[in-house]
Structure formats: structure tokens, C-alpha cells
Amino acid sequence: MRIKPIQTGALGIILAGLMIFSPAQADEFTKADLELWQSEFQEVVKKGRQVFTDPGLGTNGVVCAQCHPNGANTHPETYPKFQKQLGKVATLGEMINFCIRNPLEGKDLALDDQRMIALQAYIAEERRGVKLAPGKH
């Protein structure tokens, strides 16, 4: 995993602050903790890529990556937003289910389904660093 320098730097400052002012708070964490959390996240991202390219996600063999190479045109940072297809303000998960129902001819995943979470982790990772523009496609 590549952690962007700016993020590492910011975390470094937070860590330093904790050590000076509150060495024994319940939410203190170490570099090892950070690495663990990051690797847990990356595991789910990896699983998300598998689901994103899994012909078995729907019923017709079509995969997410066919239309969304590198998770492009998913814009996870813009949700919740109004989706014309659904006629309401929706979350990314609901939009993923739209795609599973339509191009993939499959059945909705529960919003807390592990595959649903993994898909969102993968999409967010591909899109990391893009400026937030709420509500915009």
C-alpha cells in the first residue's frame, strides 16, 4: 500500500500531539495499529476488486469493471446525491444495487453485505485523492 506523504505527515503530527499532551488516553494508537488498520482495509479493497470483476455477482456474467475500468465514473465521494435512475437522493450502495439489478440482471445485495462493503472500499481506493464535489456526478 502506498500512503500519500501528506496523510502520513498529518498522522505524524497527531501522534506527536498525543504523546505530548495525553500519553494515556483510551484512544491512543501506535504505528503498528495504523499498519494493522491499513492492511485490514487493503484486504477488503482486494476482495472488492474480486467482486468488481466477478461474473457471478449478477446472473449474466457481466462484471462491474466492463463499464467502469479502474472504478472510473463511479464518483463515490459525491454520495449521497440525487440519482435520476432512482428518482431520489441515494447512497452509493443503492446505486451499486441499481447496476446489479440492471446491467448485471442480478438481485440486490443487503447494504451491509460483505461484498457490498468490499465493492465500496475498492471504488473508494481507486478514487482516493479526488477532490470532494458534493452532489455532482
Binding site: N70, Q85, E126, R128, G129, H137
Partner: protein, 354 residues
């Protein structure tokens, strides 16, 4: 610019037109002597995908069925049809056969271009068995047509990396699969092309068909041909060259020297522009004004049609997009390049919908 409007071209297609899209292109070759004029149609990227037995993915079938129906309604009737590659999704015989069965409804002769989805399962064996050679040329009413197989790659990748053809095809079918390999025409075809063009008068309009762009746009998704510069060098001596390509499932156009480049829409699904992949830099031609919306909003979105009018060797293309205003990209003799007649100097954001 176009001598025929859409209505004249599609006499009798009123009902279908009202429904929105036409995943087919019409090309008119216009000459000073009108009796020499002719037209041809262009269909590309159907990605026919087998589910099981005789069941295929409905969306992709419908796109191709529609393009065949509407090509048959065109007036004037095209002299022939070009198919720009990727009949199949995973190169299976069943997919190629099913696609050709649908295409057999066309009333004209069809010239085919090899796509990577037709090739990497059996290295084009079934495709060639059904359709013949994957590179060739012919002359038609004063124009020299060349077809290249531009989706080959390094031998080491093709022959030494994979357990079998299925694995190789699956990797190449994944546009964003980092195990893929850049497309190329290769030395053998370049030598053939050089020889083929040696007998052609430099004033003859030349039209080249390839599946991948014969220019370098974005290597990550193979919007790319590794030996593009070498092919362009072979085309350079000719006064007027047009290159038509598929693969990219979106509007692209460019001008490099005397060569105009035009992409075709897909009948299957649209692709986002490479720059929407935030992690990588792309080289979409600066000239191209992007489609207003490039993602699969609904089944047929951005699989719209284009009608290409080639006048004095220059192409004018009209793109009809389901959920956006019609776009016309025409050659501007003053600037010597194709330009969007409405949006070229007044660019629209590629996506402004919520």
C-alpha cells in the same frame, strides 16, 4: 459538410428515430462528379456475451440487432458495411457465430476488422475461418481501403505467459487488467502495408480501418497502438487519409498532419474518458470535445449513432446521443482539422448531470 440530412438518410425509419439511438454510422464519399458518390455504414463493438447455451446477454444483443435493422433502413442504401471489431466478449465460437447470425440480416456485403475480444481465445482461428484474412485492402470507386489487425501484441505475452487461451482472453478482456499488454500492428503487417501502398497514387483518398486507435491516447486501457508512429509515417505521403477505429466506445477525433482520426460508437456500452481514472495521466487528443455524459446511465446511453459524410476526402460526423444534444464534428478546411461545429470553442463539461 453533409449533403444529406438525417431525415433523408433514414426515410422510413421514423419510429426508430423517435425512440432515440441508432448504433450505426453512415459514411458518404462525395466527389466533384456526383455520379461517383457512394456511401457505406459502420457498426462496431457489439461484445456479444454468452451466458449459457443459447442464452446471451440481452443488452448487447439488442444493440447489434438494432444497428442491423436501422442500417437496412438507410436511404441511400450503403454500398457495403464495415464492422469495426469485437463481435464477441470472450472470443468464443458461440459468441462469434451468434454475432454473425445477427449481422447476417444485413443486406450488404460486410468487411470485418479483428478486435481483441475476437482474437485472444484461439488467436483468431474461428474468426478467420468464418471471415477470412484479418488484414487486406481493396479499391472501391476511387478510394483505397485498408484493413489492419491492430490488436496484436508481443509474442512473449501471447505465447509464454498463460495456462491456456481462456486465461489469456480473460486477461485481455479486462480493459483495466494490469496484466494486459499494449496493442500493435507488428512488423509483418507494416511490411505488407508499405508494399500495398506503394502501388497507390498519392492523390487517391486512403481510408484505414483498425480496431485500436492508430495513435497513442492512454496505455492503461489500450487506447493505444504501440507502433502508431510507424503506421502514420507510412500514411504521411498521401494527400488525404482518414482512419476509423473502434475499441474506445466514445467520441474521439484528432488530426495529425494529413491524417484525420475518428472513433466509432459501440453498440454495447459506453466507456468513461481515461481522465476520469483519477490515478493516471491520459493523452486524449486536446481537439476532442468529450461527450457530455459518458457512463452507462441506461442501457443504450452513449451508444448513439453517427452518420459520416466524407466530402472531398474529409469526413463530417453527426453523433446522436440518447440523453444529450446532437453533436456534429466536421472537417474545417480553414484550420485543417475536424472540429465540433457547435462546441469546439465553447466547450461543455463532460458531465454536468446529477
Amino acid at each position: 459538410m453533409s449533403k444529406l440530412n438525417r431525415r433523408e438518410l433514414l426515410k422510413g425509419a421514423g419510429v426508430l428515430l423517435a425512440a432515440g439511438t441508432l448504433p450505426v454510422s453512415m459514411v458518404e464519399m462525395a466527389f466533384a462528379d456526383n455520379s461517383k458518390n457512394f456511401t457505406f455504414a459502420y457498426i462496431s463493438d457489439s461484445h456479444i456475451q454468452q451466458i449459457k447455451g443459447n442464452i446471451f446477454v440481452r443488452n448487447w444483443d439488442r444493440g447489434l440487432i438494432r444497428s442491423v435493422a436501422e442500417t437496412n433502413l438507410m436511404d441511400p442504401k450503403p454500398d457495403f458495411v464495415f464492422y469495426g471489431g469485437d463481435i464477441a466478449q470472450l472470443g468464443k465460437k458461440s459468441e462469434i457465430d451468434h454475432g454473425l447470425e445477427i449481422l447476417s440480416g444485413l443486406r450488404q456485403k460486410v468487411h470485418y476488422v479483428m478486435g481483441e475480444h475476437d482474437y485472444y481465445l484461439d488467436l483468431g482461428e474461428h474468426w478467420k475461418k468464418r471471415l477470412g484474412p484479418d488484414y487486406y485492402s481493396f479499391d472501391h470507386k476511387g478510394v483505397h481501403f485498408v484493413v489492419l489487425n491492430s490488436i496484436l501484441t508481443y509474442d512473449d505475452w501471447t505465447y509464454n505467459r498463460w495456462a491456456d487461451g481462456v486465461e489469456r482472453m480473460n486477461v485481455m478482456a479486462g480493459l483495466d487488467d494490469h496484466r494486459g499488454s499494449p496493442f500493435m500492428v507488428g512488423e509483418k503487417q507494416r511490411a505488407w502495408l508499405k508494399k500495398d501502398l506503394a502501388g497507390v497514387d498519392l492523390n487517391t483518398p486512403v481510408i484505414v480501418f483498425s480496431h485500436s486507435p492508430l495513435q497513442k491516447i492512454y496505455r492503461g486501457w489500450n487506447f493505444w497502438t504501440e507502433d502508431a508512429e510507424q503506421i502514420q509515417a507510412l500514411l504521411k505521403p498521401f494527400k488525404k487519409v482518414n482512419v476509423f477505429y473502434g475499441h474506445v466506445h466514445q467520441i474521439q477525433y484528432n488530426q495529425i498532419g494529413n491524417i484525420s482520426f475518428h472513433s466509432a460508437m459501440a453498440t454495447a456500452w459506453p466507456w468513461p474518458y481515461p481522465e476520469s481514472n483519477a490515478k493516471d495521466a491520459s493523452h486524449l487528443p486536446k481537439l476532442t470535445v468529450q461527450m457530455n455524459r459518458a457512463d452507462p446511465f441506461f442501457e443504450r446511453d452513449a451508444t448513439g449513432w453517427q452518420y459520416i459524410d466524407i466530402h472531398s476526402g474529409n469526413a463530417a460526423m453527426t453523433f446522436s446521443l440518447t440523453d444529450n444534444s446532437t453533436r456534429t464534428v466536421a472537417f474545417n478546411p480553414e484550420t485543417n482539422r475536424p472540429e465540433d461545429t457547435r462546441y469546439q470553442n465553447n466547450r461543455i463539461p463532460p458531465q454536468d448531470h446529477y
